[in-house]
Point group: C2
């Protein structure tokens, strides 16, 4: 795991009885950390995007449950479970779209329910949160390795939002694939979209790419079509917040547009995500809840309002890319191709990985 | 021309021996005017986007030439012409893409060359500039009237950048069509893209729509696909900076992406522009020069830098939409449909307007 050490970005850490996390809203200007032993602070940090990215909020959610558990005083196992459910509910009500958060919370709940001795539950929950974090890094490294085979030497890769260490608290998904390809000695150039409204591309991906020494150009989201038409983009690779059983993929707003553009230009469009992002309980993307955020993220920028007063704005945080636009889904257990419904239905989520093709 | 009076936005005015223009970079927060008798200030105002929009910079360019002419001291007609050519060259070297600027400069030059008595040239140039301005307003009103027939009652119309009074110093092109439809009593709602990097949608279109009392929602450029997929957009209407002889259209960066998205969703995609935007001297959009602007328009916003230091960015100001994506081109002389090369070749640019279909 030398890749992780090289980065030395501690996105989120368990410190025995409290959690320390990097406030990503302050990047790239300031490296400010939040340290807390209150699960409510973790919930707020998720809601306010101090920590963001589907896998990273899964990790944060798990640590949040561990913190919440440490704070519970209960005489009976039943009393403990009841209070823990409240903690899980509070953390789960922060952001609706990313599957990983709920996947992590469900794991934490199962551990709590299956640990017989009440005295052991707190430690079991801490252990499970640490395991979720560890597995996130392992998945990232595996899927990055697998995905890197799709990226050819000399390619210019377009990516959207931030899907690196900051987004996963591991190694990264889409950006992990790019970094891995570069580490293998491939000459890769990146076109990074700024990703309005919250500029995760301009603020976070630019910051990570600079640290990784990978050459890149920043563009506004509206420029992607221009550069595709010029023949300057060899592939698009993005992360995911939730993948339905048919392969439909929710990801940062703007992803769908990039997929349509890639399709129109015959450019491969890859989604990179750990299997914890896949939600087999929903048949299609129509069922994925899309978070609507406050209009002032659109009308203002860092406290500077750009519009006239009382300007109405819409702010869906995600969109859904239908499976037909997706060339392949890169997971830690293999690269999945069309037809996604059939391939995902027989996919072994717990066993050994399928062969990449 | 009550529509123009109602607006009461004086984008640019000829004041006898000087020009007064609204500094659009300060909108919507401040209404600041620049008053000058130096043509160089007009050139700078165009280069710095204090005045922008293809038709408006045509008008500004013409007034700039008139100011330049007033400042010329020359003993001979030949000396005058030589100095005037320098003025025209300086103004013409500000922004390369919009056809209207060159169209206006060519008209001014022709007037100078065809006016026999040297003593009459200055007044002839002033008269021509005023005529260009007047004709811009007339074209806007005509094309808005024609285009409004395409907009149905109850529609939600998506538009990009700013194409209103501010963009033309008249009534508006794409936004003129929308305003005209609303004036006719049609219930119209607008989705306005913010239009990164310079936020002409968020700053200028929002301002104009508020003044016109037309309900609208602002979105980031990356959200257009999301709302089209939801079935919320009935048509897209945009302006143009230059239209080639085959109908290929250069317009604000991001327009091409909207055209591809509209095509994918079966939504009509209209271009509204006066015939002064059409450049019959170039066969296709491949020949339209695309202005590259400074990267800091992408990396910073109003002095606030969003990226890490020394972040590279690309900043093409326009893109070209191939004719096949354009449902119709709305001009003051009629609505043009495919095949554009054939229809434009036989188009009467100076005579009476063709029938709208």
């Amino acid at each position: 795991m030398s890749e992780s050490k090289k980065e030395e970005i501690k996105v989120i850490e368990w410190l025995g009885d409290r959690v320390r996390l990097l406030d990503q809203t302050r990047l790239p200007r300031d490296e400010v950390y939040l340290e807390t032993d209150r699960y409510q602070d973790i919930a707020s940090a998720i809601a306010e995007l101090k920590i963001r990215g589907a896998p990273a909020i899964g990790v944060a959610g798990a640590y949040g449950v561990a913190l919440g558990a440490l704070g519970i005083e209960a005489k009976s196992g039943e009393g403990f479970q009841k209070k823990l459910l409240k903690v899980i509910k509070d953390i789960g009500s922060t952001r609706p779209t990313a599957r990983n958060l709920f996947q992590a919370l469900e794991r934490m709940q199962r551990v709590a329910e299956s640990t017989k001795a009440v005295g052991d539950i707190k430690q079991a929950l801490i252990d499970e949160a640490l395991k979720i974090h560890r597995e996130t890094l392992e998945s990232d490294l595996k899927l990055s390795e697998l995905g890197s085979a799709l990226i050819r030497d000399g390619w210019t890769v377009l990516t959207h939002c931030n899907t690196g260490v900051l987004a996963t608290a591991g190694y990264g998904t889409a950006l992990g694939v790019i970094k891995k390809a570069a580490e293998q000695g491939k000459k890769i150039e990146v076109i990074a979209t700024e990703t309005r409204p919250l500029l995760q591309g301009a603020r976070l991906t630019a910051w990570e790419l600079q640290r990784a020494g990978i050459p890149f150009h920043l563009i506004t989201d509206s420029m992607a079509g221009y550069f595709m038409k010029q023949g300057k983009i060899n592939c698009v690779i993005v992360g995911a917040d939730r993948i339905a059983a048919n392969g439909d993929t929710a990801n940062k707003i703007g992803t769908y547009t990039l997929a349509v553009l890639a399709h129109e230009h015959g450019i491969p469009f890859y989604v990179a995500a750990p299997t914890t992002t896949i939600d087999m309980s929903i048949a299609s993307g129509d069922e994925i809840p899309i978070e609507e955020r406050k209009p002032d993220e659109v009308t203002c920028f860092r406290g500077v309002c750009t519009t006239p007063d009382e300007c109405d704005a819409l702010n869906p945080a995600f969109d859904v890319t239908p499976n037909r636009y997706i060339t392949a889904i890169i997971t830690e257990r293999g690269i999945i191709r069309k037809p996604y419904d059939r391939h995902l239905a027989k996919f072994d989520f717990s066993g050994k990985r399928i062969e990449a093709d």
